[in-house]
């Protein structure tokens, strides 16, 4: 096979793609967001349509997005969105386009649009012409496979590349990690296209090829999820007993059915293509998705999603020092209300229970059992007389790792007990999130949190890519072997 033959095969694949109706439909659909990315400019505080029609984000979200109160914004005209809002918005748009539209809808539509390539090549009359040429059957089969990859590659390039360029030009936003999605979209498609081509050789029927491939997609995904769930639940169980050695049960053998299921799913996980990992890899390469948090502490995995309604953070306050402070001007009394969130080392302040005991003694108040983001918390509430003014005081005490955290509320009692302020206070406390607790609630997040290029082999990205490519090669080899044995 000389270079002209190779060039001929490539051109054949290209012409086949360009003539494909499905390709043209997807291309037009994908050009819409690309055009939008050029025509709409996203600024820090406003969005501009066609470089002329400006709208502030806050005007687009009349509910007062980001105000934290859930009600009307105190002064929308002056409200400034927090820094990073625009990047987060663009990240969300790009992620939705790539992970939802392209990766899910595009994948299914793409498979449906090109699954007929191989069966059509093998139809009586067509096969006689093509396979009588001095080109090996393997080369012809692979040319059809490559045609599918060109199909998706061009569309991914248009969607991801075009949108990235549009955002860079009109909004001065560029995330090089987004461009990796072109590779991962083709990679994800390569798995199912290999299956579709090989089924096409065995059945020589376009409908069977499409349907069986579309059935394989959710089945494959489901079996991997099953394995991930088993691994996650076993890990959670092990963690629990490590924390509660007194509750560790006597060693029990797993039931035969469970052991068989576990082995089966593990073998499947090792051998089968890990298509969902393509999205995980792509997400890893993109700019980190940063939810707009009022405050975040990476070490403790603690986030305060929004400030207390009507309060502003004192810029000089420190989480590790005297505590983060949020202040609000109050019409009644001394004219000030305060929230304080403070982290202290257990070595310095003592254990949580000793602190609770101490507070109980000092305040002569019994704590109420409460929780913050699923953590066991003691809540004290008392009224303090300060210069003739009644102040409502509340204090939450909870622990993350070796840190003791306290959240204090100090406000004029009458004002603080109005229904509006009570609701705002509850909302603020609920906005404090601890990552570890979230992760334990969602077993699904377990695999995601472990997955990476340096993770243990079951969660390792290299292992995932390697075994998936091996699967693709094996499936294609099977198709080629069958094709070589067909008598036309």
């Amino acid at each position: 096979m000389n270079r002209f033959t190779l060039k001929g095969l490539f051109l054949d694949a290209l012409y086949q793609v360009l003539d494909n109706l499905g390709f043209r439909i997807l291309l037009i659909l994908f050009l819409v967001p690309v055009a939008m990315s050029f025509l709409v400019s996203f600024g820090e505080q406003e969005v501009s349509f066609l470089w002329a029609w400006d709208l502030r984000y806050v005007d687009l979200i009349p509910d007062g997005f980001g105000s934290g109160s859930g009600g009307a914004m105190p002064n929308p005209g002056e409200y400034q969105l927090p820094p990073g809002f625009r990047d987060s918005l663009l990240q969300t748009i790009a992620t939705t386009l790539i992970d939802q539209v392209a990766d899910k809808f595009g994948l299914v539509f793409g498979i449906a649009a090109i699954s007929f390539y191989v069966p059509q090549m093998l139809e009586r009359g067509a096969a006689d012409v093509v396979f009588s040429k001095p080109v090996s059957r393997m080369a012809l089969f692979l040319s059809r496979y490559v045609a599918g990859l060109i199909f998706v590659g061009v569309l991914a390039l248009v969607l991801v590349g075009g949108t990235s360029l549009g955002l860079a030009v009109s909004s001065q936003y560029f995330d090089p990690g987004l461009l990796w999605s072109i590779v991962t979209l083709v990679y994800g498609f390569a798995i199912f296209h290999a299956i579709s081509c090989t089924i096409g050789v065995f059945t020589r029927n376009s409908i069977a090829s499409i349907l069986l491939t579309l059935v394989f997609m959710p089945v494959n995904c489901g079996l991997h999820k099953g394995w991930e769930s088993i691994v996650a639940s076993e890990r959670q169980e092990a963690d629990y007993y490590a924390r509660h050695p007194d509750k560790t049960p006597a060693i029990e053998e797993d039931s035969a059915a469970y052991a068989t299921l576990r082995t089966g799913l593990t073998v499947y996980h090792v051998l089968a293509p890990k298509s969902r990992d393509a999205t995980r890899i792509a997400q890893g390469w993109r700019k980190g998705f940063e939810p707009i948090a009022e405050f975040r502490d990476e070490d403790l995995g603690l986030e305060v999603l929004e400030p207390p309604a009507g309060f502003r953070r004192e810029p000089r306050s420190s989480f590790e020092g005297d505590g983060l402070e949020w202040l609000a001007a109050v019409p009644e009394g001394s004219g000030e209300a305060r929230w304080t969130l403070r982290s202290q080392d257990m070595e310095v302040i003592g254990t949580r229970s000793s602190l609770v005991k101490k507070l109980r003694k000092e305040l002569s108040v019994d704590p109420v059992r409460s929780d913050i983001s699923g953590r066991y918390t003691d809540r004290f509430e008392w009224v303090e007389d300060r210069g003739g003014e009644k102040r409502l005081r509340r204090r939450w005490v909870f622990q993350i790792n070796s840190r003791i955290l306290t959240l204090d509320y100090d406000a004029e009692a009458t004002w603080a007990r109005t229904p509006e302020q009570e609701t705002a206070a509850q909302k603020f406390v609920a906005s404090i999130q601890i990552e570890d607790a979230l992760a334990q609630q969602m077993s699904q997040a377990d695999y995601d949190s472990f997955f990476g290029w340096t993770a243990p082999w079951q969660f390792n990205a290299w292992f995932s890519v390697g075994t998936t490519i091996a699967f693709i090669v094996a499936v294609l080899a099977l198709g080629i072997a069958k094709l070589k044995r067909i008598d036309f």
């Binding site: 002209f4 001929g8 095969l9 054949d12 086949q16 009586r124 006689d128 012409v129 001095p134 008598d487």
Partner: protein
């Protein structure tokens, strides 16, 4: 014989055989043929005779069960050998997503030809098959005749040494058929071997040098057109002048006398033929021509195939 282009020895093809599927269907049963350079070779036979199977084995599209088959001295299926073959299959389906020109260009490249060569070759070939005006249209827009013509062009795009045509005039109008005959003639003149598989016996009779007649996977007869179309024993005499009372002069020599405007036809043995000539000459009648009447290929074919036990 000139250089052997196609060599088939004792080739057998059984479809669907095996332990589970039983004995299977014997499509070819010990076929042997040889085709030399520059020959126009016809393969004839009723439906199911095994003609297409034989062609497919030659092209590596189907595997033989036993026997040996070679093209240009190389095993069939060999890419080097296939590089020198052009094929127009029966009921072919060309890639519908291409235009005529694109298809010729791509198939030319698949046969190892560069674009420079194809830029010159494609227009002359389109002219030859009468497809110059429609070549820029998609193949899916072609009529059956146009598809057949462009199919013929793709079989010749790389100037192969062997062209295999399976029902080349299928769906082609009479003018187109004459064009196909001319193309085959041109190929022969430039030394190309042509292997024709056709039901149209008159076409085959007009253009083939040698013919094989097959039925039920076996070769019934092989030879030149003359060899396959035996004499009927009937002779046509062209006379100058054609005198009256010819029947009384020669009619008693043979049988089935038939008077013609410029002579007569008569069934004669070899000895009777000599006597007939003597009588005409003695009567001072000039003999302008004597033609031994033969069966045409169609008659010979039908006679042969009917003899085959069902």
């Amino acid at each position: 014989m000139a250089e052997t282009i196609v060599s088939v020895r004792d080739v057998t093809k059984v479809y669907g055989g095996g332990l589970l599927r039983g004995g299977g269907f014997r499509a070819l049963d010990g076929i042997s043929i040889e085709v030399g350079r520059g020959q126009v070779f016809g393969l004839l036979g009723p439906n199911g005779a095994g003609k297409t199977t034989l062609v497919k084995i030659l092209l590596g599209l189907a595997r033989r069960t036993s026997g040996d088959a070679q093209l240009f001295g190389r095993p069939v299926g060999d890419a080097q050998a296939r590089m020198r073959v052009g094929y127009l299959p029966e009921g072919h389906r060309l890639p519908q997503y291409l235009t005529g020109i694109q298809m010729l260009e791509l198939f030319g490249m698949m046969c190892g030809r560069d674009r420079e060569y194809l830029r010159k070759r494609i227009p002359e070939l389109l002219e030859q098959v009468g497809m110059k005006d429609a070549a820029a249209r998609k193949i899916r827009e072609y009529s059956k005749g146009m598809t057949q013509r462009i199919g013929l062009a793709q079989a010749m795009i790389h100037e192969p040494d062997l062209v295999i045509l399976d029902e080349p005039t299928d769906g082609v109008d009479p003018v187109g058929r004459a064009a196909v005959r001319q193309i085959v003639q041109n190929l022969k003149e430039r030394g190309t071997t042509v292997f024709i598989n056709s039901h149209l016996l008159q076409e085959v009779e007009l253009i083939c040098d040698r013919v094989v007649i097959m039925a039920k996977g076996k070769i019934l007869r092989e030879g030149s057109i003359a060899e396959l179309t035996p004499r009927t024993g009937r002779y046509r005499f062209e006379l100058e002048p054609a005198p009256p009372l010819l029947a009384s002069l020669v009619g008693e020599l043979g049988s089935n006398f038939e008077a013609l405007p410029n002579g007569f036809e008569l069934q004669l043995s070899d000895a009777e033929l000599d006597q007939c000539v003597d009588r005409l000459r003695n009567a001072r009648i000039s003999i302008r021509g004597i033609t031994a009447r033969r069966l045409n290929l169609e008659q010979a074919f039908i006679q042969l195939v009917r003899k085959e036990p069902a």
